[in-house]
Amino acid sequence: MSSDVKALVLTGYGLNCDNETAHAFALAGANVQRVHINALLSKKVTLDDFQIMAFVGGFSWGDDHGAGVIQAHRMQSGIGDDLARFVGRGGLVIGICNGFQTLVNMGMLPGITAGESGSARSVALIANDCGNFRDDWVNLVAEESCPCVFTRGMTTMALPVRHGEGKFYCEAPVLETLRAGRQIVLRYADENGNPANGRFPDNPNGSIDDVAGICDPTGRVFGLMPHPEAYIHFTNHPDWTRQKVLARRAGRPFPDSPVTDGLQLIKNGVDFLRQAGRI
């Protein structure tokens, strides 16, 4: 596969989805490198060499003071300017779970309120209403005509959530702004693709407006609580043994596509960059 798109996957300090996220980018055709947070902070590695950056899942700094809070502080104070430049020159950023929490705490998402340095925090991801960490698969619906480059052409998808602090919260005017800008990329839904309307467990955490993922106004910075990198092989899906039996009996091939929902989402980012003129 061509190695023209260079992806940086963060690692270290308690992050724990770096290997599979890197694997997903490799499957999506990117030239991927796992980079320790310290390597960026110490400028041994610079963002200049990359086109996509992934803030991955995990428990950065143990997440004891609010998920993603310390990582956001360290990244903002260490390489906040580099990140702003990276996005400014057309780089893509995806934040998954702990990465989403980090982007939100840096203000890079939703990126609508100006702060002292770059953007200020305007939304939050707080403790799940159910009061506990939860691992379960969710159905998601994508916003139509949304600027997000990662979900282009996707309408629904199934992905796992695995978090204790994923409840999306913001004040009403902020939510209005996000809706108006079509920045609410993904919403939790029922199995028929209708919004979950806050109903547990379809909406696993009590997020307002069923928000599962948002992007910045450019659509190039994207964060989501579900884990696309955890659905990059057909056997990751909880129902695959059933679907396989039913497909076999109906004479249908299984899996019907080599590209799973999670991989498609990552691939969209890589493909976007590969289009002429973007890299």
């Binding site: 308690g14 694997h23 428990f59 609010g66 691992d135 092989h233 129902d239």
Partner: protein, 997 residues
């Protein structure tokens, strides 16, 4: 002057943490609270300027959701409860806050300065009195083993102006000293042993004295500046000789007598006879067995390029004292074993087994923690320990029995993966050489875990560390794990092992044997606080540490990598070929022992074992006529605590991180029915996977521990076969948890019987592993599962656990696309039973439900089982089974229901067609727990092929899958005995724990 920052959610935001407290106060204590809000408190014991304070406040406060102040926040309450750690207890949030503040402000904390976290709960409730509030503090919010609390009413609060500032700082004011121990007589040494909690075995004392009195030894010691043994030397000997480290019980000499026949069997070491020898023999036959019986975990071949490693541990006593910290330390601790296997393995999955008293226990006994609270804490400890380690917890089990009120069991299992070669050398091999540096990596050393639970009887003061019960720190360990893998891949690690039981004394002592000696400089060991004696540094069990041997030429690169990963590493000595364990402190020798002394002839432990067969103990089958109301019986059986759904636990555990999940712990259409086993791809580029399962059946020990063990192994084996593992390449891990087996007429009058149970279970382990061809890749034992509990008349009663063995089974699945799950897939499929149902209800759930034990304990016919398992494996490989499920606890009725619930389809079953050894009544057919059986469903098109594969096996079609989701069972006399909606069955199954999250 300390600064105290209070942080809480904005008043209009719901407080999920507070809601959980409110719900538990109602559910557990019957106390109604109107509102609970939680305030997080950061106590900064350092001099900060107002500007620095403001900066700290900005970092730790989310402006969107939180408010904060350096003074008490105006949150309304009738009562407020402050809960903070005791001095010296691991405060993980405090540590990360310290790291962050230090970095953000560019300041270094001075010795003695620190940051501590605590919580303040604001309770609103009508008529809540001080007793009820204190009960909430003591029974819900805090554990006095590790935490302190204060309760104030609103009027008291106003009077005092708040809780005040509490700084749980450790101040020892102690100059480290190495003491010498008099050894003029055995009695004198034993007296010191008792005084210092050394727990030396009286039989070992003459051997120890003899060594130190030898002329040659004394001459050598004089040159090192030593005479009588030092405390550090005796502490070392005590650690190495402990049952925990040395497995004296399993290595003991057993005289086993059958009281019925009078036959006597002498067994010199259960370990050698039943575990080591059979496994070594199997290793000769099975080329995939790579490394067993010597390292921290066993290694088996995964594919041409990788080995997987596995081990299982228990953490019972600490969890019994402090459930959360104990269980967390257990899971985080067992994860260091694969890291310390060979040159180091990457962790890829974990498993758990919890045994506790019933959640709704309301009898006379008063354990330190009520079983419900204990289980909550254990579950949460493994959750935080596992999830924050980034390792999927893919399989587990929970078993309730009153016997675990004395001491709970917490089993933790870890699997890792390593390359076959590291820089061209076998990764599973490791050794130290003279000149290699001894490097300690990870956490720092405090008084943690010194002398384990014996320390719990010490009196607390405000500044003595309450460190004997520990809290794991998965964050520090995860950083270390990532670092060590990088160091391994660069070829910088020659030897690695973890610091668990015994701390440095074990890890350095064991690793020095390879080189032939070591010299340790104890003053180099980084400490959490000053004032530890040399022996304390040497035996402390402070967590999250590994000991690594690094060649001198690799030290610079090793330390550069360590710094890159923000991991603390320290050279604390070097390996030598002196033959001596040589420990120094500030240039003075404080220990100088011949390494081979520990291999010398200490007396073997001796046990008398007396077996009274079940009939002689008066056990017999119950007199029981077949029931008539089977619908109700089936639902009530499904709702038994040892059968009901455990979804609430599974969902708290991240079982998919690392991206390799193939078969999850919950499967089926609604993803809520327990899978037989877990399947995980540890290498994402490969289509191969590891199947993993565990089983425990302690109830059978009530009749015969031999059959307890064989049935447990059989269940674990069937579980992995059911998901698609090849039947003939299964590896095992045994974990024994037994009550004390040393006879004492007063304190352990049935010790000889318990010893006989242990002998029988070990023989069973040998027999089953030989018959099924299972090498034991790893195993551990934990003895003394007994407790003395206060009763209602202020008496204490000894409570012993059922003899328990957990067995874990693993196998490599060559092609994940062939895996199957247990749920029915399609209407019109045929339902088959594999295996024979016999009159084997002794110690079954059904008998227990009716208040019986019985006598006919299930027995495994291994030759018959092997044939059936080969057929099931072949049928799965050829894709002719749509679903496969073993029949386990509760029997056919329960498991037919579970299979239907998995697919949310109905079934019609005719019991007349169930293969059985003799004519059995309907209740026996439905609830017998005969081993070796499966329920499989087969598409009409695959029927012929499947029947051919099962030729010669007990294999019969007993019914059909129906679209209408109703379970219909016809009894032996042709009448319909069960007709219940699958929905209703599922509701019953979820009844006991369905409202827990």
């Amino acid at each position: 002057m300390p600064h105290q920052l209070e942080i809480t959610l904005k008043p209009d935001l719901p407080d999920a943490e507070g809601e959980t407290v409110k719900k538990r106060a109602s559910d557990y204590l019957g106390t109604t609270l109107e509102q609970v809000r939680v305030i997080h408190v950061l106590t900064i014991d350092a001099d900060l300027t107002p500007a620095q304070c403001e900066q700290v406040q900005r970092i730790f406060t989310n402006p969107v959701t939180q408010i904060s102040a350096f003074s008490p926040l105006p949150v309304d309450f009738d009562w407020t409860i402050w809960v903070g750690f005791r001095p010296g207890v691991k405060d993980n949030p405090g540590d990360t806050a310290r790291e962050t503040i230090s970095e953000a402000l560019g300041i270094a904390f001075k010795p003695g300065q620190g940051i501590y976290t605590s919580r303040r709960y604001c309770l609103q409730a009508h008529g809540l009195d001080v007793e009820a509030t204190d009960r909430i503090a003591a029974e819900l919010l805090a554990n006095d083993t590790i935490e302190q609390w204060k309760v104030l009413s609103i009027s008291q609060w106003r009077g005092k102006g708040g809780i005040g500032v509490i700084v749980p700082k450790v101040q020892l004011d102690h100059t480290p000293t190495a003491a010498t121990i008099p050894i003029e007589s055995d009695a004198a040494l034993l007296a010191v042993s008792r005084e210092r909690n050394l727990a030396l075995n009286p039989n070992d004392v003459p051997t120890i004295r003899d060594y130190f009195l030898r002329e040659a030894v004394q001459a050598e010691r004089r040159t090192a500046g030593l005479a009588e043994p030092t405390d550090i030397e005796l502490e070392y000997i005590s650690q190495v000789r402990s049952d925990h480290c040395n497995h004296n019980t399993f290595g003991g000499y057993f005289r086993y007598r059958d009281l019925e026949t009078g036959d006597v069997q002498e067994i010199d070491s259960l370990f050698a006879t039943c575990i080591k020898n059979p496994t070594l023999a199997l290793q000769q036959q099975k080329s995939w067995v790579v490394s067993v019986l010597w390292d921290n975990a066993g290694a088996a071949r995964f594919d041409d390029d990788h080995c997987y490693v596995i081990t299982g541990e228990t953490h019972n006593s600490p969890s019994n004292m402090e459930a959360y910290g104990g269980a967390m330390t257990g899971i985080v601790g067992v994860y260091r074993d694969p890291m310390g296997t060979g040159k180091g393995a990457r962790l890829v999955m974990g498993g758990y087994g919890f045994c506790a008293g019933y959640r709704d226990y309301d009898g006379d006994l008063k354990p330190k923690l009520h079983p419900r609270r204990l289980l909550d804490g254990v579950i949460e400890g493994v959750k935080d320990g596992g999830n924050k380690s980034g390792i999927p917890t893919t399989f587990g089990q929970v078993y309730f029995d009153d016997g675990y009120m004395g001491k709970c069991l917490v089993f933790v299992t870890a699997i890792g993966i390593m390359p076959v070669l590291v820089q061209g050398e076998p990764a599973h091999e490791k050794r130290t050489s003279p000149g290699d540096r001894i490097v300690m990596c990870g956490g720092r050393v405090g008084k943690d875990g010194i002398h384990g639970v014996t320390a719990s009887s010490e009196v607390y003061s405000d500044t003595t560390p309450a460190g004997h019960v520990q809290i794991g720190d998965p964050y520090t360990q995860k950083k270390m794990h990532d670092f060590l893998l990088c160091a391994r891949d660069e070829g910088l690690i020659r030897f690695i092992t973890d610091n668990g039981g015994g701390g440095l004394s074990s890890s350095v002592g064991e690793s020095a044997v390879f080189a032939g000696g070591c010299e340790v400089w104890l003053e180099k060991v980084p400490l959490k606080y000053e004032g530890l004696d040399q022996w304390e540094i040497w035996v402390s069990e402070s967590q999250e540490r590994m000991t690594v041997a690094v060649a001198p030429e690799h030290i610079d690169r090793f330390f550069a990598l360590s710094a890159d990963h923000a991991v603390e590493s320290t050279v604390i000595g070097h390996y030598t070929d002196s033959g001596k364990l040589h420990i120094m402190y500030d240039g003075r020798t404080c220990a100088y022992i011949d390494l081979d002394f520990m291999q010398s002839d200490f007396p073997q432990w001796q046990f008398e074992a007396e077996w009274t067969p079940p009939a002689l103990r008066g056990l017999c089958e119950p007199v029981l006529n077949s029931p008539r109301n089977y619908n109700r019986l089936l639902c009530d059986m499904l709702a038994r605590p040892n059968i009901g759904s455990r979804e609430w636990i599974v969902r708290q555990y991240d079982h998919e991180v690392q991206g390799g999940s193939v078969i999850k712990p919950l499967v089926g259409k609604d993803r809520d029915v327990a899978s037989d086993a877990a399947v995980t791809r540890p290498v994402l580029a490969s289509e191969r996977a590891i199947a993993f399962s565990q089983a425990l059946l302690p109830a059978y020990s009530q009749i015969d521990a031999y059959h307890m063990a064989t049935c447990t192994i059989d269940e674990a084996v069937r579980r992995v076969i059911a998901v698609g593992a090849p039947w003939d390449a299964i590896g095992g891990v045994d974990n024994f948890c037994w009550p004390n087996i040393q006879y004492d007429p007063v304190t352990n009058p049935d010790g000889r019987f318990k010893a006989a149970q242990l002998v029988r279970s070990c023989l069973a382990l040998r027999d089953a592993c030989e018959a099924f061809g299972i090498p034991l890749l790893s195993g551990k034992d934990s003895m003394y599962v007994d407790g003395h509990l206060a009763g209602r008349y202020e008496e204490t009663r000894k409570v012993s656990a059922l003899p328990t063995m957990q067995f874990s089974a693993t196998a490599v699945v060559p092609d994940v696309s062939r895996c199957v799950t247990m749920d029915v897939k399609a209407p019109g499929d045929f339902v088959y039973i594999v295996g024979v149902t016999a009159d084997e209800l002794g110690a079954s759930e059904y008998y227990a439900h009716l208040g019986f034990i019985g006598q006919n304990v299930p027995q495994v016919n291994m030759a018959v089982c092997r044939k059936q398992y080969a057929a099931v494996s072949a049928a799965i490989a050829q894709q002719c089974l749509a679903s496969t499920h073993g029949i386990y606890r509760g029997g056919l009725g329960i498991h037919i229901a579970l299979v239907a619930m998995g697919g949310m389809l109905g079934m019609t079953i005719d019991l007349a067609n169930v293969p059985c050894a003799e004519a059995l009544s309907d209740d026996r057919l439905l609830f017998s727990e005969s081993p070796g059986r499966f329920i499989v469903t087969i598409a009409p098109n695959d029927r012929q092929e499947a029947e051919a594969l099962f030729d010669g096996c007990a294999f019969a079609c007993v019914g059909m899958v129906t679209d209408e989701p109703v379970l219909r069972i016809t009894g032996g006399n042709g009448g319909r005995i069960v007709e219940t909606g699958v929905d209703e069955l599922k509701q019953a199954w979820k009844r006991p724990f369905g409202d827990l999250i």
